[in-house]
Amino acid sequence: MDIYLPIAEISENVFVLLALGAGVGFLSGLFGVGGGFLTTPLLIFIGIPPAVAVATGANQTLAASVSGTIAHFRRGNVDFKMGGILVAGGIVGSVFGIWLFGLLRKLGQLELAISFAYVLLLGSLGPLMIIESWRAMRRQGATGLPQRKLHQHTWLHGLPLKMRFPKSRLYVSALLPLGLGCIVGVLSAIMGVGGGFIMVPAMIYLIGMPTLVVIGTSLFQIIFVTANVTFLQATQNQTVDVLLALILLVGAVIGAEFGTRFSARLRGEQLRALLGVIILAVGLKIFVDLFLPPFDLYSLAFAP
């Protein structure tokens, strides 16, 4: 059954879209990730214009992040002070990102930039996850993890504008979360992702936040930044397809439910290795596509 997507201006099979949403939702339920970094490339693979895929990806990530945020908020796992600074950085970054998005689109280099960004991110994230989980699997059997300090102090913590974050038990420079939020905001605008896959490791290893509040605080930031990206994409580029986002969400909600149930049967390291392989495969596909001669060297483009 085909459905005409009003903003993408093409017809797609509604079951393909539901399956795509369900597949990504299953993975996000399985691994506890947002999945925006898979939604956007998959939408492009099935023929959605990249500009619409990115903007709609952000809109769908917003919807998908709500339930997680509610859950973490109830358990009190959100550091609002840290989150607020991450949001401030994220707003600045996403405003810049949307401007860059419009500029690249006008220059005809948007699709290339999106591909490059995905190759870089997926290409480094995938192998990292595989290596990390491989090491964890080998560590099994050996005695428990070595005792670590609360967090490592690096030169980053010595930057000016130091601030206390009682919830995270930290005294670090506010520039750290501000800069991180900003980078994630740019990625959100250009790639249509929430950016949790970057923010979470950075919060743990760079800022040194306790793992307990990391997920809730990053989701808190993602809600505000993807909302801002959705609004700016809609007002400046008219690329948010709400119908597409809703269909994806329906699939994602159902898929996530099954993913969560299934995850109980698998070990964490195996799960991470599997996700690493999937991420690497998508990254490789985008990388190879850059080198393949297109169907026609000439193409009709969006005329500003």
């Binding site: 059954m1 085909d2 459905i3 005409y4 997507l5 009003p6 903003i7 201006e9 093409i10 017809s11 809109n59 769908q60 917003l62 919807a63 998908a64 992040s65 709500v66 339930s67 509610i70 859950a71 005809g108 280099q109 290339l112 909302a227 959705t230 609004f231 700016l232 994409q233 809609a234 007002t235 400046q236 008219q238 948010v240 709400v242 119908l243 986002a245 809703l246 969400l249 909600v253 996530a256 439910e257 969560t260 850059l290 080198f291 393949l292 001669p293 297109p294 169907f295 026609d296 060297l297 000439y298 193409s299 009709l300 483009a301 969006f302 005329a303 500003p304």
Partner: protein
């Protein structure tokens, strides 16, 4: 004086073409099975039937033209192994949709000059580069022009189909025009030409409107006319849908 006489003669010749004498009245009648194409949420493309009758013998050419607009053509080149957009050219007055069908190949029916006059056939389309090309750029402009037509053909928006017009007996004819799902909206015209001895002896123009209707149309109009409200609504809708989803699958 010579110039004036030629002009007067030319005007008479033109009148003879567009206003056939009373003896030839109703040499051609034609109509469409639909004058309105609605792009609904379930739109997957549609066929429109064009049918008519001619008086006496002759060939029939049917041209469907969409509204004209600006099109941007980009060219990719290989840079360090990667295909990158490196040159573009904008054209104006480009028909968004253009379909020609006839009962015989166009070249057998009409000379290039006559086809040029009526814009019948891809090679006669009068769209031009937005910035006038210098003499040195003409071959490049032509390559981009060909690429535009080729891309439109691949999108099924430009079609040339000799043999698609079928005669039922000596007088009745019909043809089927396919409109794909990526159809641009606007006012179209269906022009039917009756050709005899290498000249267009009668022509008829019928309008056709392509418009988005229903839910999809409302979403589209809303997004473009009130982008702020649409953006805010998209945010609220996502928050609400996410909240509903969390309620439905509430975890303990």
């Amino acid at each position: 004086m010579m110039g004036l006489r030629r002009l007067v003669f030319g005007l008479f010749a033109l009148l003879a073409i567009v206003q056939p004498g009373p003896a030839r009245a109703q040499a051609l009648v034609a109509d469409l099975s639909d004058h309105f194409i609605a792009i609904t949420t379930g739109f997957i493309g549609t066929d429109v039937l064009l049918f008519g009758a001619i008086e006496g013998d002759g060939d029939v050419i049917v041209v469907l033209r969409g509204p004209t607009g600006k099109e941007l053509v980009r060219r990719k080149s290989r840079v360090a192994g990667i295909f990158v957009n490196d040159k573009d050219m904008a054209f104006v007055n480009v028909p968004t949709f253009y379909s020609v069908s006839s009962n015989r190949p166009l070249a057998e029916i009409l000379s290039t000059n006559v086809r040029m006059r009526h814009e019948i056939g891809f090679d006669t389309l009068r769209f031009t580069p937005e910035r006038a090309a210098g003499a040195a750029d003409l071959p490049l402009a032509d390559t981009f022009r060909q690429a535009l037509i080729r891309n439109k053909q691949n999108a099924e928006l430009y079609v040339e189909d000799p043999g698609k017009v079928v005669f039922l007996g000596a007088r009745l004819f019909r043809t089927r025009v396919y409109f794909p799902s990526n159809l641009p909206t606007g006012s179209y015209t269906a022009d039917v030409y009756l050709v005899r001895d290498g000249a267009v002896i009668s022509a008829q123009s019928t309008p056709l409107v392509v418009s988005k209707v229903g839910f999809g149309a409302e979403v589209y109009d809303f997004a473009y006319q009130w982008p702020m409200a649409y953006g805010a609504l998209a945010v609220l809708l996502a928050l609400f849908a996410g909240w509903i989803a969390a309620l439905v699958f509430r975890r303990t």
